[in-house]
Amino acid sequence: MAILLDHSAEAVVEPSALRLTINGEHHSLDVLPWVTLLDLLRDRLDLIGTKKGCDHGQCGACTILVNGRRINSCLRLAVMHDGDEIVTIEGLAAGDELHPLQQAFIDHDAFQCGYCTPGQICSAQGLLNEGQAATRDDIRELMSGNLCRCGAYTNIADAIEQVLGERA
């Protein structure tokens, strides 16, 4: 299997065998240890919905769900995830039917440029899974790991509040 993303070709490091379930699909891959989970998704698997914003865990654009928990995929080495189940923005909708968070983001116009949106929605799904948010203040605090440089925050909070309410 071709070794991608290797900018240190002189290194004598063998790629590791990695098994991942991504959006319900099984993958067996050979990956060099310094490839981040984010780069694996985007550059190797063409799952470019997950965005590379800051690449330092400060903006949240790369947020995905690993075993149901939201994390910053830019700060994880892919090889640390052997056997894990990953869901990205591409895996949330049920066929043509939008995920309730996707629909709520549209309903509330919860984006402008849209670059942070996949991370916002995956993060919001993580927030719902965690079950720690009951109020709008909770939502705002527990979404603080996702920056929106367009400043659509109030509408993002509205969208999440709607889905949280539907679930209550």
Partner: protein
């Protein structure tokens, strides 16, 4: 990132053996180390992934709690036993980072995270912590976030953790294992001041691995607060923070704990400041005298001079919140 080999040992013994090799670094959550590797601040040649080790549980231990080193920060903060018996710790954890980071970052990793000093991160500048002997560009540079206590002429960096400030106040212990066996370190002795060797953040021997944090059987669940002051209300490092905990006998203070964050190379705790509160009523005069003892010898670097009066007021405010039983909410940011 520089090239490195990768291992995922299944036992602590195997991990410690690998961790003793030259150029080895342990990785748990990776939230700090991967970032530092991208910046070439950390250049390990071997990465030992701890993800398979059975160190992620929270267990009752001699009346206290034993927090597994690999338990994520979020799971620790939301654990029912932690939240009810050690709410100061839960509150401090939830004051730090973001939910995504808290989901990945582990308890052991939180202890071992590196400073966020700009110069430590910037490989074009001098930093004695990153390159011993190279100098310190923070001294005389942009040092708004830097230390006001315990700094040296080699390093003025601060320890960035919130969790550790609470652990210092709670007098936790750190259990570590190395090729020489297991030992327990008092929290006050775990992190160190920079002195003439800022490259060492803590007193771990090379290759030693944190396995657990032990919380003692003490009740500070009624009168506590974690007050964190920062440039924005969420997801920012502390400019200053205060972990305060009190216990009362009638209207007199029976026991007191105070630890400060954002002010030194380690969580700042001065037992004499706590001692002088014992037997006194919980009033502003008593709290001010404790603040004076905590801040004895404080000195600014120019841009961070404001921290001295700020943390003094924060100490008094935090002790007042603790006494009143109105801990700072980490969601509703109005100061209680």
């Amino acid at each position: 990132m520089n090239p490195f080999t990768f291992a995922r040992p299944a036992t602590v013994e195997a991990a410690v053996e690998l961790g003793a090799l030259d150029g080895a670094r342990y990785i748990a959550g990776g939230t700090n180390l991967v970032d530092l590797m991208k910046e070439h601040v950390e250049r390990p040649t071997r990465i030992i992934d701890l993800g398979r080790l059975p160190l992620n549980r929270i267990e009752d231990a001699e009346g206290g709690l034993r927090l597994g080193a690999l338990c994520p920060n979020a799971d620790t903060a939301y654990d029912e036993r932690v939240a009810s018996r050690y709410p100061l710790l839960a509150s401090a954890i939830l004051a730090g980072a973001s939910p995504q980071l808290r989901n990945a970052a582990t308890n052991g990793g939180n202890l071992n995270q590196r400073t966020r000093c700009y110069y430590f991160y910037d490989t074009a500048t001098a930093c004695n912590k990153r390159v011993p002997g190279s100098g310190c560009d923070a001294i005389g540079g942009v040092n708004r976030i830097h230390a006001i206590l315990g700094a040296s002429d080699r390093c003025i960096a601060t320890h960035p953790s919130d969790m550790c400030v609470a652990l210092a106040a709670l007098k936790a212990q750190v259990e570590v294992v190395g090729t020489q066996g297991v030992r327990t370190i008092e929290f006050a002795d775990y992190h160190r001041l920079p002195g003439d060797d800022p490259s060492r953040d803590n007193t771990l021997a090379p290759g030693e691995l944190v396995t657990a944090i032990i919380l003692p059987d003490e009740d500070f669940s009624q009168h506590y607060t974690y007050l964190k002051l920062r440039d924005r209300l969420s997801y920012a490092f502390a400019l200053v923070s205060v972990a305060a905990a009190l216990r009362f006998d009638g209207d007199r203070i029976a026991d007191a704990r105070i630890a400060l964050g954002g002010v030194a190379h380690k969580p700042w705790r001065v037992p004499e400041a706590e001692q002088l509160l014992i037997g006194r009523a919980a009033d502003a005069d008593a709290f001010a005298s404790a603040a004076d003892v905590l801040l004895a010898g404080a000195s600014g670097q120019g841009s961070n001079d404001f921290k001295i009066p700020l943390v003094r007021r924060a100490i008094i405010r935090a002790l007042s919140q603790a006494a009143a039983g109105t801990p700072q909410s980490q969601t509703d940011k109005r100061v209680a």
